[in-house]
């Protein structure tokens, strides 16, 4: 391995050494673990007897990314079919990449794999030059991404507590360390649901397949809307008047439809369906940012700003990098950086340099010391 990349691994190692007490996973012996190493290799079906063993592993072989299963298993190290699932947290994945928000994508760079055309900002559905839909995107991460994700978290919490009756104490919010959040229900009857049932839950949350006419009830000469469905009731707050004459029915349905678009929660439904999914170990580092995956309470998540609260690596040592893709201006720990252009060389504090390297926007340069 090149010396400069070895430095990042050393930074991760010393992070895990000093933070060992903060690494905590409930029911550790019944979980499956998965790691992506600095060699790029992914290893699954790993189990640990206790927390100490897990913590030692993170220091001994610091991973780029560290995950554990949302399921509890009888035999976590076995192949999928033989694991023996006991129960599984109900998991929701909110990722700003799915939200297609212009502000969040302002610094993202897309490139057509077919003709090589590239551009900045929200990626088009297909290449404006050659029409190919094979676009690769180097996403950027800014405060706006976190804001739009938080709004989805807020809506999801409403559905979970108001509609599904989930006790707020059973809800766990985790910042992934990159562009989104994982929300989990960790206790109660919903943790015992199977795949088909979880699909129903996900589709409800997303209002996918919602048939407005199920909630419009004939009433005298007009129509009434059954306001007891969570989505419909929340959508009505944007409209008002729940009684309509027959003539207005179509207009009402249109109005409701567009308001439901505002109240529905954009989650990745395949993640929710899949009880074999993994989530990041709390306080482990994200391999695309160097940020910490944070467990947050219902109050904390609103205030959380990853550029202040989730930075895992130290400022020392300074590192020399060469910019290989344009970098927008950003702030870390109240210090401003950038914008930088392609080809520029910069000496940056370790946490900022590693952030750019892991995002694929900069390369480390020789002459970076190993004294950490």
């Amino acid at each position: 391995m090149r010396e400069e990349e070895g430095l990042i691994e050393e930074l991760f190692r010393s992070y895990y050494r000093s933070m060992r007490g903060a690494i905590y996973v409930k029911d550790v012996a019944k979980r499956e673990f998965m790691f992506r190493g600095f060699d790029g290799k992914v290893r699954r079906h790993i189990s640990f007897r206790d927390l100490e063993e897990l913590r030692r592993h993170l220091i001994y072989e610091p991973p780029l990314d560290a995950y554990y299963s949302v399921s509890l298993y009888e035999r976590p190290e076995a192949e999928m079919e033989d694991k023996g699932r006991i129960k599984a947290d109900l998991l929701f994945d909110i990722d700003s990449s799915d939200l297609r928000d212009e502000g969040c994508e302002r610094g993202s760079i897309w490139r057509c794999k077919n003709c090589g055309k590239s551009g900045m900002g929200l990626s088009p559905q297909s290449c404006p030059n050659c029409g190919s839909d094979k676009l690769e995107v180097n996403h950027w991460l800014n405060e706006r991404c976190i804001e739009v994700s938080k709004e989805e978290v807020r809506k999801l919490i409403d559905v979970l507590t108001q509609d599904f009756g989930v006790d707020p104490d059973w809800i766990l919010i985790a910042y992934t360390g990159n562009r989104g959040f994982h929300v989990r229900v960790t206790e109660g009857p919903l943790t015992l649901l199977g795949k088909e049932e979880r699909r129903e839950i996900a589709q409800y949350v997303m209002a996918s397949g919602l048939d407005i006419s199920s909630f419009i009830i004939p009433d005298g000469r007009g129509f009434r809307i059954d306001q007891r469905n969570g989505h419909v009731a929340r959508a009505l707050k944007y409209i008002g008047e729940p009684r309509v004459s027959s003539r207005d029915r179509r207009r009402m349905e249109e109005l409701l439809k567009s308001s439901i678009e505002r109240v529905r929660v954009k989650v990745d439904w395949m993640v929710t369906m899949d009880t074999g999914r993994l989530t990041r170990i709390p306080n482990s580092l994200h391999g695309k940012t160097g940020f910490r995956a944070l467990s947050l309470t219902l109050d904390e998540y609103r205030r959380m700003n990853p550029f202040k609260d989730a930075i895992g690596l130290p400022a020392e040592p300074e590192m020399k990098v060469r910019i290989k893709m344009r970098v927008p201006a950003f702030r870390m720990r109240d210090e401003s950086f950038g914008p930088y252009d392609e080809g520029e060389e910069q000496v940056l504090p370790a946490h900022a340099a590693v952030f750019l390297i892991l995002r694929g926007r900069a390369d480390p340069m020789e002459g970076n010391g190993l004294e950490v």
């Binding site: 009756g165 009857p189 129903e200 397949g209 469905n229």
Partner: protein
């Protein structure tokens, strides 16, 4: 008594395989013992027989529901660990609702089209019976395979023989099917009960892929409620009208999309 139990168990299975009518109600102990015996025999006779029996018992339960009072239904639900509440209105706890309703096809059963509040789902009396019937089906399907005494074993062999005569294995190797269709084909082959929408999807898709009507009908022979007349009519209707298979969006709405496969249409 034992002889009578065996006889009624066999009767249940025979009618279940024939797929038509119900046995005449007997005394309660006889009903209970023969139900258990029929389950054990069916489990030994194979997945398809078990699915047939499950369908039979679920349908029979539905029929019995018509003469039951709401209080009786409530008592059964309580027995199964289902929580119900509400005066005048009927609310079922979310997890119990999903356990039953996620197996039933149709937009009205989808959670997204329901009034859901504080962990409870609004249902009516008919729907309560229908959900309980799914619990009956699940109960039968979860019967373990055990070593049977000789006389029951003989019935199992007989039933298994009769049931396999009515099935014609359909080979789908070599057909490149998208994952959602593949999953449905496997479910049907295993004798699982799939929804009306799932059957429509299969028939319209396979016909559009050039399958002959006969072959599609043979695939459906494994369905627990297979009826030659109904299936033949439906399949040839779909073939004649050249119905198109549903889009991915519709598949998702129907709860039949197992996950992103990268294709834009089925």
């Amino acid at each position: 008594m034992l002889e009578e139990v065996r006889k009624l168990a066999r009767e249940r299975l025979m009618i279940a395989i024939r797929g038509k009518g119900f046995h005449a109600e007997r005394s309660q102990p006889l009903e209970v013992y023969s139900f258990v015996a029929a389950k054990l025999i069916a489990a030994a006779a194979g997945r398809n027989v078990l699915a047939r029996l499950a369908n039979y018992e679920a349908k029979r339960f539905m029929k019995k529901c018509q003469s039951m009072s709401l209080d009786q239904l409530r008592a059964i639900a309580r027995e199964l660990g289902i929580e119900l509440k509400g005066d005048g209105e009927l609310w079922m706890d979310l997890a119990s609702y999903l356990r039953g309703a996620s197996k039933i096809g149709g937009a009205r059963w989808r959670l997204v089209n329901r009034v859901v509040s504080r962990g409870f789902v609004l249902i009516d009396e008919y729907e309560l019976g229908r959900i309980l019937a799914e619990y009956v089906r699940e109960n039968v399907m979860n019967t373990p395979q055990v070593e049977l005494p000789d006389r029951l074993k003989r019935i199992a062999d007989e039933i298994s023989e009769i049931s396999s005569r009515s099935r014609r294995p359909v080979d789908t190797k070599g057909d490149e099917l998208p994952p959602c269709i593949e999953e449905l084909v496997e479910k049907v082959k295993r004798g699982e009960n799939v929804s009306h929408q799932a059957r429509f999807t299969l028939a319209s898709f396979l016909l559009s892929r050039g399958w002959k009507e006969e072959r599609v009908i043979d695939l459906f022979r494994s369905l627990p409620d297979f009826s030659e007349k109904v299936t033949t009519y439906q399949v040839s209707h779909i073939a004649k009208r050249r119905y198109k298979p549903p889009s991915c969006d519709t598949m998702r709405e129907w709860g039949l999309c197992p996950g992103d496969c990268g294709r834009r249409r089925v």
